[in-house]
C-alpha cells in the first residue's frame, strides 16, 4: 500500500441500500396515483376477517382445502400457530409477522420503534393465503404505491431466510416483471427440490394468472382483492436456465424466478443487523 492506495471497498449499509432503492423506485414510477382495486375498507372489519375470507378463496386451489381443520381460524379469531409437517411455520398473526419482517428490513434496531419515518408508513393489510404449510401475507402502502408479500412456508423458522417479497410499484403493467417469482432450494443435497412462490398486483384487464413450471406442472394463481398469489413445491430442482411460463391477460411471458425479490431477512435473535437474504 502506498499513499495512492484508497481504502478497500465497502458495502452500502443494508438499510440505506433498501431505502434508496425504494426512493428510486418511487421516483421512476408512473406519475399517476394508483387506482388499484384493493381498498382498505374491504378488510376494515379486521385483518382476521379479511384473511379468513381470502383464505377460503385459496382453499379451492391450494393444499389444505376446505376440509382441513388446521387451516381454519380458531374460535377466538387467532390462527393455528406452529410448525407444519414440512418444517414451515404458520405465524399466529401473519399481519404482525409480515410487519416484523418489513421492520427488520427497513429499520435498524436503533431506529425502532421511534423512527418518525416508520410512523408515516401506514401499511394496509392486503389479502393473504394460508394453509397448514404456511402463509402468504400481502401488505400495501397506497401512499408510496408499494406492496410487500411475506411467505412463511420455507425457512421462516430459521431466522435467516427473508421470505419477504419486495414488491414493486402499483399499478403494474402486464409484463413479465409483474409475475416475478421467488424461489428456494428445498429437499436435501442428494434430492434437491425447488419451492417457488410469488405474489403481486393484477394488472388491469387480467382476471386469471396461470403458471406452467419446468416439470410440466400447471398452477393457477389465486386472484384475490386485486392480487395474484401462487406457491408450488416441486419434487425436483429446476435447471438454472429453466423457464417458468406465465399466461395472463391473453399474453404469455417467461416469469423471472432466479432473482432476489427479497432483499433483507429478519433480524435473528442476538444479532443487531438485518440479514441479507443471500446469507
Amino acid at each position: 500500500m502506498n499513499q495512492f492506495t484508497p481504502p478497500p471497498d465497502r458495502d452500502l449499509p443494508v438499510h440505506r441500500h433498501h431505502r434508496i432503492r425504494r426512493a428510486l423506485a418511487h421516483h421512476v414510477a408512473p406519475g399517476s396515483r394508483p387506482t388499484h382495486p384493493f381498498r382498505a375498507p374491504l378488510l376494515a372489519g379486521g385483518a382476521v376477517a379479511g384473511i379468513a375470507a381470502v383464505t377460503l378463496v385459496g382453499f379451492s386451489t391450494w393444499p389444505g382445502g376446505p376440509g382441513d381443520e388446521a387451516a381454519r381460524p380458531a374460535p377466538d379469531g387467532t390462527f393455528f400457530a406452529g410448525p407444519s409437517t414440512d418444517g414451515g411455520t404458520v405465524p399466529a398473526d401473519p399481519v404482525a409477522w409480515c410487519h416484523g419482517l418489513l421492520d427488520a428490513s427497513y429499520l435498524t434496531p436503533q431506529e425502532e420503534p421511534d423512527d418518525p419515518d416508520f410512523e408515516q408508513w401506514p401499511l394496509e393489510t392486503g389479502p393473504s393465503l394460508r394453509t397448514p404449510d404456511g402463509v402468504v401475507q400481502i401488505l400495501v402502502d397506497q401512499e408510496a404505491r408499494w406492496w410487500w408479500a411475506c411467505d412463511s412456508t420455507v425457512g421462516a423458522d430459521q431466522g435467516l431466510e427473508a421470505n419477504l417479497y419486495d414488491g414493486t410499484t402499483l399499478p403494474r403493467s402486464n409484463d413479465r416483471w409483474t409475475y416475478a417469482l421467488s424461489s428456494a432450494n428445498t429437499g436435501s443435497e442428494e434430492n434437491p427440490t425447488r419451492y417457488v412462490w410469488g405474489a403481486g398486483p393484477v394488472p388491469a384487464g387480467v382476471d386469471a394468472v396461470r403458471f406452467t413450471f419446468p416439470d410440466g406442472h400447471v398452477e393457477d394463481a389465486t386472484v384475490s382483492d386485486g392480487f395474484w398469489m401462487v406457491r408450488y413445491q416441486a419434487d425436483t430442482d429446476f435447471p438454472d436456465d429453466a423457464k417458468i411460463q406465465v399466461e395472463a391477460g391473453g399474453e404469455s411471458f417467461a416469469a423471472p424466478w432466479d432473482r432476489a425479490d427479497c432483499v433483507f431477512g429478519p433480524q435473528p435473535p442476538g444479532s443487531d443487523t438485518p440479514q441479507p437474504c443471500t446469507d
Binding site: Q3, R10, D115, Q158, A180
Partner: protein, 223 residues
C-alpha cells in the same frame, strides 16, 4: 446465531447484485461480467421501455461499485450515498442514451457518476427534494466500531485525494477508473467519452508522475 437449515437456503443466485459483483473479477485490468439471460443489456432494454423493476435490478447489481467510486471521489461515505443516488436518478433520466461495453452498463454508469461528482452542486440541486427525503431520517444506526472504521476510511481517502491532486483532472479520472475501479481501457474510454488511446496515454503519464512522487518521498524519508 443459528445458521440456515441445510438444504433450505435460498438460491445464492437469487441476488443478481451479489452474483454479478462477485463474478466481476478484474484480471489484469479486464473486467468480465455475466452476460447471461439477466445481462445488463437485456435488463436495460426493459429499462428503456420504462421498467422500474428492471432498473431496480440494475441498481442492486451496480450500486456498490458506484457507491465506492463516489466515495473515492469525495472521501465521504455520506456524500457518496447522495452522489450514488443522483447517479442512478441521472441514469434513469438519460436511459435512452446508455452505452454498453461487453454487455455491461456499468462503464456508462461510472461515466455518469464521474460527471455527477464533477458537478455536485448542480446534481444536488436537481434532485434536492428527493435527497432531502432520503436524508431526513438518517439516524446513526451503525455500530461504533463500524463508524470508527468508516471515519478512518475517510481520513485515509482524504489523504489519498491530497496526494493525487497533483495530477491534472484528466489523468486523475483515468486513475480513478482504471486503477481504483478496475475498468479496462475500453470501459474507461466509454465512461469518460474519450478515445481509448487517450486513456492509455493519460494513464501512462499519470503513472510516471506518481512513480516520481513516490520516489521523491522515499528519498525524503530515508534522508
Amino acid at each position: 446465531m443459528t445458521g440456515p437449515r441445510r438444504g433450505m437456503r435460498r438460491r445464492r443466485e437469487l441476488d443478481p447484485a451479489l452474483r454479478t459483483q462477485q463474478g466481476m473479477e478484474t484480471m489484469e485490468g479486464v473486467a468480465t461480467v455475466d452476460t447471461g439471460p439477466q445481462s445488463d443489456e437485456r435488463l436495460w432494454a426493459e429499462v428503456e421501455h420504462g421498467s422500474g423493476a428492471a432498473f431496480g435490478v440494475v441498481f442492486d447489481r451496480h450500486a456498490k461499485a458506484i457507491y465506492n467510486h463516489c466515495f473515492r471521489r469525495v472521501a465521504s461515505w455520506e456524500a457518496a450515498e447522495d452522489l450514488m443516488s443522483v447517479t442512478f436518478l441521472e441514469a434513469w433520466r438519460l436511459r435512452g442514451r446508455a452505452r454498453m461495453v461487453d454487455g455491461s452498463v456499468l462503464p456508462w454508469l461510472y461515466g455518469i457518476a464521474t460527471n455527477v461528482c464533477r458537478n455536485q452542486r448542480r446534481s444536488h440541486w436537481r434532485y434536492r427534494r428527493l435527497l432531502s427525503q432520503l436524508n431526513a431520517d438518517v439516524a446513526a444506526p451503525d455500530h461504533a466500531a463500524d463508524v470508527a472504521s468508516r471515519v478512518d476510511d475517510q481520513r485515509r481517502m482524504a489523504e489519498v485525494r491530497v496526494a493525487i491532486r497533483q495530477l491534472p483532472r484528466g489523468e486523475r479520472e483515468v486513475v480513478e477508473l482504471v486503477l481504483w475501479a478496475g475498468l479496462d481501457y475500453a470501459s474507461a474510454a466509454v465512461a469518460l467519452d474519450i478515445p481509448i488511446g487517450t486513456v492509455r496515454s493519460r494513464l501512462s503519464r499519470a503513472r510516471n508522475r506518481l512513480v516520481g512522487t513516490l520516489s521523491g518521498l522515499e528519498e525524503t524519508e530515508e534522508s
